[in-house]
Symmetry: none
Subunit: 417 residues, 2 copies
């Protein structure tokens, strides 16, 4: 099956946002065995959107739209496709109920335009939106398949991964369904991982092995077609064993979970608790951990001590450690160790993790941008301190530092299992 | 002039990289007053690239290619366009000299395929590559203009900003460039904002007014063409005044900055300091504030008190307030107020912001998912507490809660100005 991705939105044509949706959808479609031959971006304009549909229909069997399902006058995708196919728009009552419920729970009045988000093209399959109000659509007509997804990635991604994927598997009628397993790695870069697996990636045709970077982590997708899940699992297991022989120490999960979730699970399994003390990462470590539902059982809390005064007040670190002639300074191995140990004591947890460094854009305490000290303190054990020099923007340095600290914590927990 | 951007590369269709080139080129072309109506991505395949050229020619005057100018067999853009236009490829001697020089300076032998990077289509204008070997091309033929740029951003960007821009100014003659201003709003949803501005949006043709949602905030872009920036600013100012009359209280910036940056700027301007105490948002408020470079001058730090014990230990909130028969509980107006007041005292800052609530996925203390209490404490003033019921996933609830607290803090700072 040949697919074309059509992203709808004038903000893309003006360069105000980058088309990450096309990348995500390309990966998902590739994993489903669907070939993407073209990606198109078109603005919020009925005439040109219709033109894009005509062109795409002539060269693809499956048109995957993203964007233009919202409540505003700019959101035209459903209207234009309905007119093109000469079909009416009909109300999807469950979506309408959801919208009305939301507004009444807020105690506010529904703006009439919100009704638009519950409309479907007659004869289409609804694709539920777990993260927003606009219902998605799957529709097959005259041998062409149309899938309409919302534009905001937070809504589009779960819709594609859930009902969207199921609908594509249905229309492709794969007798041998495709089974995939994601292997998630941390503590190793994408190019090093790929170099270690290069001959496997090139030589292996079934299962296939495809690495890709994923928000500060690296993933490898192992895919095969098989009549049953059990048979697929056997084939995939054999390939995973080969991969483990080479880079097993960096493999933290055989499913698509972020590193922080693997950490929270190991804490839960060993009934241990964590606290954090952050400087340069400004709360990002805490935010990653608490993004995992139910993490309050494993994470007691922490501090963001962005100034020396706060490191002193909140953690009791002596000012002589932080400032003055000959002091190690806030950005040092010994301060990282103290921060981790103090938060462990104060919060009375089993682990304390700390991060202190230079996120940039300019150097600090004479230390270069990207230099980060981080520590893992464990009750009754010697504190381990790590030093890394990360590259990239302020944002990327912060993410990489947090992931590096999470990796060391994961390692400690995993080796104790 | 109508333009289409054509990015060439199978890695884009597989989702291995994200198409940042399209974003960059869209911004550059908009600044040159060229309307981008479509962006297309096509793989390294001669037949499909030719198809893409045919389609683009039918709907655009200027085709801007990026990618496929390198030395390998996959790099087809020049060959395919030359064949399509029925023109021969000719050697660009200065580029060839540069390639040979490079290889001789390295003391290595030039691989024959590198010669391909010095080829031009007969009759075209060379666009010098200051950061690489492949020469770019500008070519006008039968009323259509073609610009060929390399794929690697570090080569493509300077080529576009230098010789590419000059060539486009040459082919467009004297057009009036487009000027835009972004208005950023918080504390109001996209549909409510649009409802308030609907007649303006529909009636206004110059400047144009276009609203769009942007990562938990709402933006409105006001655009006009004018001979000079000063004339554009006058026209845009008049439109902004009309918008302000209706929704001025929600307008936090007339440029594309996030709400947290507007907050940090107001703190800086008034030389005041902030601290935070978070429960349900788990460090996200701190992370947003500290994502702004240099915010350590305005943000002292804060705590993530994810358990009642931590609220007691770190903030000194009495356990009777948090637990037991008749206690208000951790998720309450009075606890939100206490958290904000205590962190202000402990950190000795001018403002303390707190958040406590239910991010989900399940209810807590018998309170529903999405219910969040947040408070802004100000030195010497009465603490203000707010209650909101947010909808969406755990992640979205956390983002919306943080943005709501930032909005209330911004309001306090802005009204004191």
């Amino acid at each position: 099956m040949k697919a074309e991705i059509i992203a709808v939105g004038t903000e893309l044509l003006l360069g105000q946002i980058v088309n990450t949706n096309a990348q995500f959808l390309s990966q998902e479609l590739a994993a489903l065995g669907v070939d993407v031959y073209f990606q198109t971006v078109v603005g919020d304009n009925a005439g040109r959107l219709r033109q894009a549909i005509e062109v795409a229909r002539s060269r693809a069997d499956l048109l995957v739209f993203t964007g233009g399902l919202g409540p505003t006058q700019d959101d035209l995708t459903k209207d234009v496709l309905a007119a093109y196919l000469n079909k009416p728009l009909v109300l999807h009552q469950p979506s309408m109920d959801k919208i009305e419920q939301l507004f009444s729970s807020r105690g506010t009045h529904m703006v009439e335009s919100n009704r638009r988000q519950a409309l479907m093209i007659e004869g289409s399959t609804p694709l539920a939106n777990s993260a927003g109000l606009a219902v998605g659509i799957g529709l097959s007509e005259d041998g062409t398949h149309y899938m309409l997804l919302p534009g905001p990635p937070r809504e589009m991604r779960p819709m594609m991964e859930g009902p969207g994927k199921a609908w594509i598997q249905h229309i492709t009628g794969q007798t041998e369904p495709l089974f995939s397993r994601q292997l998630k790695f941390a503590g190793i870069g994408e190019s090093n991982l790929e170099a270690a697996l290069l001959d496997l990636i090139d030589g292996q045709t079934d299962p296939t092995i495809a690495p890709y970077a994923k928000e500060g982590e690296v993933a490898v997708r192992v895919s095969t077609k098989a009549p049953t899940e059990a048979e697929a699992a056997m084939k995939i297991d054999a390939t995973v064993d080969k991969i483990k022989e080479r880079v097993g120490e960096f493999l933290y999960a055989q499913e698509d979970i972020p590193l922080e979730e693997a950490v929270v699970r190991l804490l839960r399994a060993s009934r241990r608790k964590l606290a954090s003390a952050e400087s340069c990462t400004g709360g990002l470590f805490a935010e990653y951990i608490t993004s995992i539902p139910g993490s309050s059982g494993e994470y007691s809390g922490g501090v963001v001590t962005y100034t020396n005064e706060m490191k002193h007040k909140m953690l009791g670190i002596p000012m002589e450690q932080l400032e003055g002639e000959g002091a190690p300074g806030a950005i040092s191995e010994s301060t990282a160790a103290l921060m981790a140990e103090r938060i462990l004591q104060i919060a009375d947890t089993d682990f304390g993790v700390s991060l202190t460094g230079v996120a940039g854009p300019s150097e600090s305490e004479g230390k270069p941008v990207g230099l980060v000290y981080f520590a893992v303190a464990e009750r009754g054990k010697e504190t381990r301190v790590f030093t890394s020099k990360f590259s990239g923007s302020r944002e990327i340095i912060r993410v990489r530092a947090v992931k590096a600290a999470l990796y060391r914590l994961w390692q400690t927990l995993a080796s104790a299992e």
